[in-house]
Amino acid sequence: MLIAPSEDQAIFAETTERFLVEQAPPDTLRHLRDDQAGFDRDYWRRGAELGWTSLLVDESHGGGTISGAGVVDLSLVAYEFGHHAAPGPLLATNVVAAALSEAGAAQADVLAALLSGECVATWCAPRFGERPGEWRTDVAVESDGDGVVLRGTARPVEYAAQADHFLVSGRDGDGLTQLLVPASAAGVSVEAMATVDLSRRFGAVTFDGVSIAAEGLVGARGQAAPDAERLMRYALSILNAEAVGCMQSAFDMTVEWSFNRYSFGRPLASYQALKHRFADMMTWLEGGHAISDVACAAVQANADNADELTSAAKAFIGHYGAELIHDCVQLHGGIGVTFEHDLHLYLRRLTVNRSLAGTPPEHLRRIAGLLDVRNEVAA
């Protein structure tokens, strides 16, 4: 998280944190395992009132930021989400709201409902292709009279069974097309998928010849590759900030534990082998904070190196974050691998974030690809 948030940002983050501490304590999270939706609609509406859904939406469309830097503000919320392993479609809703806002408040009614928290939408995102700028998707868009028809399956889609709308980035000839598809449209079906996170839900969304009128288009046909790039940056910014929140929680719990837990008459914190591991963990933690913040700032500024930095953040936090929390588990001993302990809440969240929107190895290759492109441009 930011070293020096503005006063408004600090208040904003604190308000969210207070809300989450009260609404989503660990025991509640454990119970959400058996809840089909994974979150409560009223909880989500109240979060929206706190500003969770407006940060990537232009003021003229009903949105608004805290500091003028919406991505950075959103990363503060995401950090708290990770810090408390909080439930709710933060990523899904914000990415779709951003897409609608950036397309000039396409589907203004849906956007308004997303902003108020009345309605939930999610993104059927494409996957990274071989080279930077290339995308893969298993959903195809074809012309059908004035409108289009969709065929194929997107997976995994966050909160697929809970979403009222899907933003689909589908293959359309050589390009991508973005559409908003109501969950109620004929031919749409969702099959639930399993995950290790207790509160998040995923599904495979199948479009079996789904007809969508031209009004359903979000932007021009075949031109959505840059949109996908931008939405992916938002998604990665949220995933990264969340994961850093998880790292911080696990680290803090374990430092505390190391002072309280005695073995052979001494606190764990007095054993040099463990002290040195805490030192390593702290560098990973601070490295995670640092690269997440730098990457969010670059996304906000639409900087040239925004992709490289988000990928570096995703790969670093995914790998070292998991190593950090696993080592926290190790230092807790047996209790750390039990369901009744809280540590795994953060491990679960981080584990899923690690594998969403490109695993660490995929992002490492993406960085190599970006360097390659840069060298070609330079040559």
Partner: protein, 429 residues
Amino acid sequence: MSALAAAEDRGTEEMEELESFRLRARAYIRANLRPMTMEELRLDYSRNDEEAELAGIAHERELQRGLFDAGLAGICFPEAYGGQGLTMAHQKVFNEEIVGHDYPRRIQVPTFSPCAAVILEFGTHEQKLRHIPAILRGDELWMQFLSEPSGGSDVAGALTTAVRDGEQWVLNGSKVWTTGAWWSDWGLCLARTNWDVPKHRGLTVFMLPIHQPNVEVHRIEMLNGSREFCQEFLTDVVVPDTDRVGEVDDGWTVGTRWMFHERMLFNSPYVTEPVGITHGSMDAGLVATVAREAGLLDDTATQERIGEARMLELVGDALSKRISESIATGTLSDQAAALVRLFKGTAQLRVNTLVFEAAGSAGAAWSGDGPSARAALNFIMRQGGAIGGGTLEMARNVISERVLAMPRERRLDKDVPFRDVPRGRPNTS
């Protein structure tokens, strides 16, 4: 009395020849124990099918009873207590012959070793007569009441307390990390009987039945959903003094041997262990399976992951063999077993990570119950194998201090009454 001593007692002239024993074992096994692959023999606790587990236990009791009746149970236990009074060599023959067949898997450890081994070594004649034949018949399944929630790696720091009351003792406290205490019969329990002497000098060992109102067994859910482990709460459990094992306050003499038998694990003469079986296999092959599902099999990075997992498995096996031989030939002390523990524990972590990496995006969400599910659950449970059975940190201590003879860590629990040993952060408020 050691297995060897038991055999010598009997006199070698009357002892069954290895070859005739082999033929007898083979005949019984082929006639009575159905063929099973290694894969089928592997225990999977993650299913959580309570009924199936109870049926499995009942089946194993029957198998054990069959072996007992055929004169094949307790190969290295003395005949006086229902065993066969034979040698480790006979047990090894049996271990060869049992390969590929069903056998009582769950009740080898900890029932025969360390529990029965400890009773055999420290129990009175009466205690042995009462329990060893019952164990060998499959009538008594035992658990170790050893670890405690407060204890971590420090088992001698037991807080469970036994207070003497005439000819009996009253026990209070909690034990944890017992596998399947809910279907076991007896617990071998380490308890503190004196708080006014240093840690190791105030412990005593007791035997107690698990199924009694004053013992509450709670099943623990692990991160992969497994509920194999239990925690027990002992509230005013009454144990007659005749169920004490070893002398009062001398429990660490028993404990030291107990730990030795625990280290021997499946190498114990008291344990049947099919040759070539692997425990907690590393599942290196899962990397390729999962990568195939994820469509990543062709990339060189995945191939390196597949190769790395297999390499770790092969080196682990080679190391295990080398260290066993080194211990057997006396080149290394039995403490060197910690090298295998550390290597395999670390390798297992790494393999679980490689599998998860190979799973690609299926690590976030998956459909069905196949290899991807296992990849993700094994990943969040990754440290389980680095904690259970002694943490890797303890293994590193043992290797550096006991094998390499480096200076021991400073301990603040020596030479002071146990009640004065710091057991938690002082209240600073």
